[in-house]
Each structure stands twice: as C-alpha cells, then as structure tokens.
C-alpha cells in the first residue's frame, strides 16, 4: 500500500501548550483518513503542519514522498486545504475567488475562467457566481471554499472540520462531494469532531486526544475493539415480546430493554445470538428483525478517552495558538 500522507513523531508546542505530542499517522493513497478528536486535541495543528503552514518542532511528515519542511513548494503543488472557516475574499465574487487562485496557480486567463465556470456548475453555484462571497449563505460559502481548493486539481485534500456549523442538508451535500472526490482518486484527510461524519466518510480513523494518537483502525475495527455489541430482536407477534424477553434474559444474564416492540441487550458472548435464535425457534416465536449492532463511534470515543468527543475540550491550542 502506498501512502499519500505520512507523519512520524510530530511535535508542536505553542508556548506552554503542547498541541502535538508525537503524532504518527498514515493515509493510504485514494482513501479517506479521518482524524477524530475533540476541540483542542491537535487536529488543526496537525493539518497545518501537513499543509506546510507551520513547521513541526520535531518529527517528519511527507506528502507523496515530499518532506513538508524541506520540500514545501512541491507539497504545495499537491495539496489543498479547506479550513474550518471559509477562507474566501469576501469582497470578490464567487467567480473572482476561483479565478484568483487559478491565475496564481499559473492558469491562463481563459483557462482560469473556464475552470471557475466548471467548478461553479459542479457545486451548484452557477447562479451565484457573479455575486460577492459576502452575500453567500454558510453552506454556499463552504461549497465555494471547497471549489476554490479544487482549482488546482489537488491529489491530496485536507478538510478541516468541513461541516462544522452547517445544517444537515448542506452537510449531506458536502459529504457526497467528498465521496465524489475520492472516487476520482483524491486522498482526503478529514478532521472532525462528529462521529457520524467519520463513520460516513472515513476508510481509516486516527483518534487523537490532547496531542497524542490514542487509537487507529477502520471504523469497524475501532467499534469491535470497544466490544459491547448490542443484540436487537423484534418478535413478529408483539404479544409474545415478554416471552422473548424471558428467553434473552435467561441466556444473556441481563434483562433486555424493550422499546417500540424491539428488544435490545448487550452481547458479551459471541455465541449468544445463535443460542437466542434457537430458543426462540423452539418456543415458536418468529422474529421479523434480528441484528447485531456495533457500538457507535461515540461509544468508542467515550470508552477510549473517558469523555465524549463533542464536549468542549481545551480549545486554546487550536483556535488561538494554532492560528498564530
């Protein structure tokens, strides 16, 4: 497997704050790596190092084999960054924002215009292209911002909390755009503090907390590692739900929770679902639904760190020092 992004032992301090305390990560080419963690975990700092915006105090990072410190110029030709706050020139129109970056990347006036028009169309902004970015809604800004980062056809894309503050509709739109980019072969590093976002988009996940990596793996691996799967059954005949509950209780050792005609119970023994099914069959209880549910990434984060991902951590390192 080749890696588009590799980092080893990244350390970055801002005064007394240690934003990164030795972070290792690797993003396979053509996949989405989710960098997951609460505010202040060091996600943004890591992205800024990988985007050549700040230098690590120690450690090495490479993008497609190019060192982010010594070969920053080469790295900049490959990567694009879409930050937490849409980095648009508010006084310019959508088209002008795109042309500005196109021209800076060396496109001719004509090519820059054509590229701008194509990107606006792709992001559903054609009608708004002539309006100044100042007048755009939050979702439109974020889309334009993403469009601007795609002007140079980057092979590596950093999305730093791309959906923070977006409504569910805009969020879904952005997700499908990201999926499209990956289908086209881009490698994406996505930072997020939303579990469902990482679950939806990321092939691999690196969980960071307080500047260190606390877990890595695919979403499923992480969920399995936490253990605690849940068995869910729905008897066909709602009248028999109590009988079914008795069977599950006898086998699992805990009374299942009944909710909306469905029973759910924690599973510790992998043989449990089969045993439950057999006993239900013996008792002539048919089920319309039988599922083994993995824990959500929220559960994973909670069990790894002892706190929820979306609660406020220490935002100091990211919002103040990280942007200095």
């Amino acid at each position: 497997m080749t890696y588009a992004i590799e980092a080893e032992g990244l350390v970055k301090r801002f005064g007394a704050t240690t934003a990164l305390a030795g972070v290792d990560l690797a993003a396979p080419t053509g996949r989405v790596l989710g960098l997951l963690g609460p505010n202040g975990a060091g996600k943004t700092t890591a992205v800024r190092v990988l985007a050549t915006l700040i230098r690590p105090d120690s450690g090495v990072a490479r993008v497609s084999g190019f060192d982010v410190v010594r070969q920053a110029h080469e790295v900049r030709q490959l990567v694009a960054l879409t930050g937490q706050y849409a980095a648009l020139d508010e006084g310019l129109t959508g088209v002008q924002n795109l042309i500005l970056v196109g021209r800076l990347l060396g496109l001719s006036r004509r090519d820059a215009k054509a590229r701008a028009a194509a990107l606006l169309a792709r992001f559903g902004l054609s009608d708004a292209g002539g309006r100044r970015a100042k007048t755009y809604s939050g979702g439109m800004r974020r889309r334009l911002d993403l469009a601007v980062s795609l002007v140079g056809r980057p092979s590596v894309l950093y999305l730093d909390e791309p959906t923070t503050g977006l409504d569910p509709h805009s969020r879904n739109e952005l997700w499908s755009i990201v999926r499209g980019l990956v289908a086209d072969g881009a490698t994406v590093l996505l930072t997020t503090q939303y579990m469902d976002e990482a679950d939806q988009l990321a092939d691999d996940i690196v969980v960071v907390d307080r500047g260190t990596v606390i877990a890595t793996g695919t979403p499923d691996e992480l969920k399995t590692r936490t253990g605690g799967q849940t068995l869910e059954i729905r008897p066909a005949d709602p009248a028999r739900i109590e009988d079914a509950a008795d069977i599950v209780a006898a086998l699992a050792g805990v009374r299942p929770v009944a909710e909306g005609g469905r029973l759910s119970a924690p599973v510790s023994d992998p043989a449990l679902p089969a045993a439950v099914l057999r006993r239900l069959d013996d008792a002539a209880i048919t089920v319309t639904e039988l599922a083994l549910r993995l824990p959500s990434l929220d559960d994973v984060f909670l069990s790894l760190t002892g706190h929820r991902a979306e609660e406020q951590g220490e935002p100091v390192a990211e919002t103040v020092a990280g942007r200095a």
Partner: protein
C-alpha cells in the same frame, strides 16, 4: 513511495513571482470594480474633505475659500497618503484573521507575493486618489503655477512617502491581533501627524509646543514640498526632507515588517 529527486530549496522563476504579485494586486483593485459602494466611497471621500475644508473653514482661515483652496489642496494631497495607505495593514490583518492568508500560503506561489501584491494594489489605488484630488481641485478653481514635470514630481514624492508609510502600516497589521486594533492604533498615529502639521494652516498660528512638533513633522515637509511643486511657493529643503523621511521609513520599517511577515510565513 514516490522518491522523485527534487533539489531542496526549489525556487520559482522570477517572472512567475512577478505574475503572482500582479494577480494579487488585481485582487485588491477588482474589489473596487465589483463593489459600487466602496468605489463611491473611494472617490467621494477625498471630495468631501476638500469641500469640508475649503468651503466650511476656508473663509474663516484665509478670508476667501478660493485663496484657501490654493493653500490647502496640496496639503490634502500630502495628507491623503497617510489616510489611504494606513488601510494596507488593516487589509493584511483581515486576510490573516479570516484565513485568506493561509490559503495563499498553502499555494505554490512566491512567499513574498501576498505582501508585495497587496502593497502594489494599494499604491495604484492611492495614485488614482491623488489624481482625483488634484482634478477635482482644479475643477473648483485650483490653479497650478508650475510645469507638468514639477506636478509629477510632487505626486511621486507623495507616492514615495506612501511606500514608507505602507511598511509601517504592514508592520502594525502583522503584529496586531485584530483589524479593530489596527484601526485604533493607526488612528492614534494618524491624527497627530496629519493635523499637527502645516497641511491646514500655517504653523506660525500655533502655540509654541505644537509649532515645535509641526515644524519637524514629516507631513509638514511633504506638504510644503507638494505646495511648492504645484503652486510655486518656496520649497526650501522640504523636498529633500520628504525624500529623506520616505527612505528612512522604508529603511527602518521594511526590514521589521518583512521579519514579522517571515515569522508568519
């Protein structure tokens, strides 16, 4: 893994760097075009200044507004440098706060382009505003008593001074935490050097302590120089003082601003 041999410290071709600066200067200027409000403000503000000073205070200060116009217009031209160039730092600061600066830095462009391009754009705007001031002044009765070369020299002198101030402004913009701080700080700096000068009135009417300041104020030298180059009043050594100040400001503040910029880049 790709292990392409690329020389470390890869450099951009110089013409590409120049192109980046021009593109970023375009960015500053095109905003005016697509923003009728700002464009109007840009043109009207200097006119409001002229009307205010000439017609409101002119009669009281110089007897007639016509003779005051002859005195004050060159001063206003000199002073406009201070006002409009001070916006450079605020704009730079805004780019830093809202992330545009980071976006530019993540692009494979010349490191100095965001700084140089912005300054170029501001200077073009500034040159245009000088021409507007002079043209409007002439429409309402200002008379040039010198030759076109001297007029051009006067305007260039103001531009040179503007370049020096632009470095000061950029330094403030790079160091300040927010655009509001930049404006506040620039304002505090601006008023003593514009009003505490001979731009509006002869310094001989001021109390001694203020006169002492106004006489050494670089803006006084600049306005005396522009006045002389436009209306033929005695120049003395004002041109040299103005040039000296321009060079000094650049010599002191350009390295400081570039150092502050390097820390960010």
């Amino acid at each position: 893994m790709a292990s392409v041999a690329v020389p470390a410290g890869h450099r951009l071709a110089p013409w590409r760097a120049v192109q980046h600066c021009f593109t970023l200067a375009w960015r500053n200027l095109v905003q005016l075009k697509s923003n009728p409000g700002e464009l109007a403000g840009f043109i009207i503000q200097p006119l409001v200044f002229i009307v205010l000073f000439v017609y409101v205070f002119g009669g009281a200060i110089a007897g007639t507004s016509g003779s005051y116009l002859q005195y004050v217009l060159p001063g206003l031209i000199a002073q406009s440098g201070v006002f409009s160039i001070m916006a450079t730092g605020a704009g730079l600061n805004q780019d830093i706060t809202n992330g545009v600066f980071d976006r530019l830095r993540s692009l494979p462009i010349a490191r100095s382009a965001p700084l140089v391009g912005r300054t170029m754009g501001e200077l073009v705007r500034f040159a245009a505003s000088l021409v507007i001031l002079l043209a409007f002044g002439m429409v309402i009765g200002f008379r040039v008593h010198t030759n076109p070369l001297e007029v051009a020299a006067g305007l260039l002198l103001v531009l040179a001074f503007g370049v020096g101030l632009a470095w000061v402004s950029m330094l403030i913009g790079l160091l300040a935490r927010s655009a509001t701080t930049v404006q506040l700080f620039s304002g505090v700096l601006m008023f003593p050097i514009t009003f505490g000068s001979n731009v509006m009135v002869q310094t001989s009417t001021m109390p001694g302590w203020l006169q002492a300041w106004a006489n050494v104020n670089p803006v006084s030298y600049l306005s005396t120089a522009v006045r002389g180059l436009l209306t033929g009043t005695p120049l003395g050594s004002s041109v040299w003082w103005s040039l000296g100040w321009s060079v000094l400001l650049t010599a002191v503040f350009a390295p400081l601003a570039i150092a502050a910029y390097r820390r960010k880049v």
